[in-house]
């Protein structure tokens, strides 16, 4: 008995029951398609988060005041005044692992330009901020060291601000916008970055010299945070250690004291988000995997019924010379054919669905080759696994009993 003949026999048997074969396949099709689509959605969101984190600057370090206790009451970090401009200057002088460092103070308020207004906030930073946050100037120019020294009332604005304050499309460069009655002259427009993965509009920014914001807008001497970037992503940890030791020294903390500041890096953020999306992907894949198993049980069910229904046929095949192994192979080939065909259709539908989700719902979707391969392998194994028992049952039939079966 050769394989080609067995294959032909199995194919004829399936062709005789097209509808049933298709219905059985449906379980596998849905299972495989959902595994692929779910993994694609999971992988897609992971990839888009990773990409946005690297857009935000993968070696970014954020220092915020924090962990201060006054009489046992933990304070709101934004109200804390522990991070001073002197700290920033010290870090700038002493740190060796940083490629850039910028103080950050921000003042929110209604921005007004002519007859238009828009609620936003003005961030007080220095020139390094552009490289740290991977921003770029689209039109005009960035303010300079000189502007910081003189606390010049100039600003660089993002695309969203331009759209809202200058809806008529006029050139914003040289125009004046007011924040809390203080006029700022627009000297530059940032290149658009769109929304990030957390849904924050990265174009809704107004950058001004930190000295201007501190002295003229807020009249404060402390900072709401310091942004820095390590020389490379790998040096982030060394940079954090260095910053910690400098700040502890500057803040005159004792050995036993906790840090009165928080340092966060993008690495932490990215690993945290990765864990979340990985968990989500696993969950989705589990749900989809269950439907694949259900599909497999469908195969077993149908093959089992099919063996019972075709008992006479099996008896006849045995009487004309089919050995047990031939019958076993025939039914196994049938179930594998069902699952592989179902798997192939499922792969197509899964990829198609992923594409549809991408184009219609604009979700980040990414079909990974390994997920296609995996679900395809799983469904082949499903075919063998769930086809085995009915096939074995068929092969073990007694030809005399089988021929007499009504």
């Amino acid at each position: 008995m050769n394989g080609t003949n067995l294959f032909k026999i199995a194919l004829r048997a399936l062709a005789n029951n097209k509808l049933r074969a298709f219905l059985t396949m449906l379980g596998i099709i849905i299972g495989v398609a959902s595994v692929i689509a779910m993994l694609a959605i999971g992988q897609g969101s992971k990839k888009s988060i990773q990409q946005q984190i690297s857009e935000m600057g993968s070696n970014m370090i954020m220092i915020h005041p924090g962990a201060e206790m006054r009489g046992g009451v933990r304070q709101d970090p934004s109200a804390m005044q522990t991070l001073k401009l002197e700290n920033y200057e010290k870090l700038r002088e002493e740190c060796t692992y940083l490629s850039g460092i910028s103080p950050n103070v921000s003042s929110s308020g209604q921005l007004v330009a002519g007859a238009n207004n828009y609620p936003s906030s003005v961030s007080g930073v220095n020139m390094d901020y552009l490289t740290i946050r991977q921003l770029a100037i689209d039109q005009g120019e960035m303010f300079t060291e000189n502007d910081i020294r003189t606390a010049a009332k100039v600003c660089v604005i993002g695309k969203t601000i331009v759209d809202n304050l200058f809806p008529d499309g006029s050139d914003p460069i040289g125009k004046v916008i007011r924040c809390n009655q203080i006029p700022f002259r627009v000297i530059g427009v940032l290149k658009s970055k769109g929304y990030n993965s957390m849904g924050m509009d990265q174009d809704d920014v107004v950058l001004a010299p930190y000295s201007t914001v501190m002295k003229r807008l807020l009249a404060q001497t402390y900072l709401s945070g310091i942004f820095a970037s390590a020389l490379t992503e790998d040096m982030t940890e060394e940079a954090v250690d260095e910053i910690t030791s400098i700040l502890r020294r500057e803040h005159k903390l004792k050995e036993t004291d906790d840090d009165d500041f928080n340092i966060r890096t993008q690495q932490e953020l990215s690993s945290m988000l990765n864990t979340t999306t990985d968990l989500m992907t696993t969950l989705l894949a589990c749900i989809a995997g269950i439907s694949l198993v259900v599909g497999g049980i469908g195969i077993m069910n149908i093959m089992y019924v099919s063996v019972t229904e075709r008992t006479r046929e099996i008896g006849l095949r045995m009487s004309v010379g089919a050995r047990g192994i031939d019958i076993l192979s025939q039914f196994l080939i049938e179930s594998i054919l069902i699952s592989i065909t179902g798997g192939l259709i499922g792969v197509l539908i899964g990829c198609g669905a992923s594409f549809l989700i991408k184009t219609i719902a604009h979700w980040p979707v990414f079909v990974q080759p390994w997920s296609v391969l995996l679900s395809f392998l799983v469904c082949t194994v499903t075919g063998v696994f769930f086809g085995w028992y009915p096939a074995k049952k068929a092969a073990d039939l007694d030809p005399i009993e089988a021929l007499r079966y009504e």
């Binding site: 008995m1 004829r12 005789n16 004309v320 010379g321 089919a322 047990g324």
Partner: protein
Amino acid sequence: MSCMKKIIELQNIKRNFQVGGETVHALRGISFTIHEGEFVTIMGTSGSGKSTLLNTLGCLDTPTSGEYLLDGVAVRTMSKSQRAVLRNRKIGFVFQNYNLLPKTTAIENVELPLMYNSSVSASERRKRAIESLMAVGLGERLEHKSNQMSGGQMQRVAIARALVNNPAVILADEATGNLDTRTSFEILVLFQKLHAEGRTLIFVTHNPEIAQYSSRNIRLRDGHVVEDTVNPRILSAADALAALPKNDED
């Protein structure tokens, strides 16, 4: 006769079944020899052991004791799959209820035994299936499906299937049992034609009339052979068919 080749040789065949706690003796020591070219009818009432004997002859069952030589090969000690291969090469079955594959063409049905013989190529298989169908007078209906055929046609397909592997013996189990009188005679004519061509046929039946058209008759009762006679005057099924009143439906 004795100079002819022995196709089937049974030596004191016994077959017991365990039913519940009791032992049922279906065959109680059967011995006979069938030579090449014989047309043997095996008769007996139900419970006489003729089904068990048929299963034994067809290598579907193995005897509890005794020896069975099919075309010189000892069957009793063979494994299940060895017997399957033996059936494939040496035996052609014709069943009462035809047992054709549903929704399958005549030619595919006839090809079936050769599908399990890897030494026969696809083209050879088709050629031999067509030859077999021609031999049973169905040369015009090669592509007809089994559900598009009458009972007589289906039984002809079944006979063609039994012929296709050129077996040592053809075993027919009540092959005319489901057919009307006229069609039964047509099938008997076909069997006599095969007999005339020198084929060895065994026809198991409870219908005593059929024995008149065979060359030898073995009668069973309670697991014993009670009669084994050579038919001195074989009737012609073709004559009997011609003598039948004409049927308007034909």
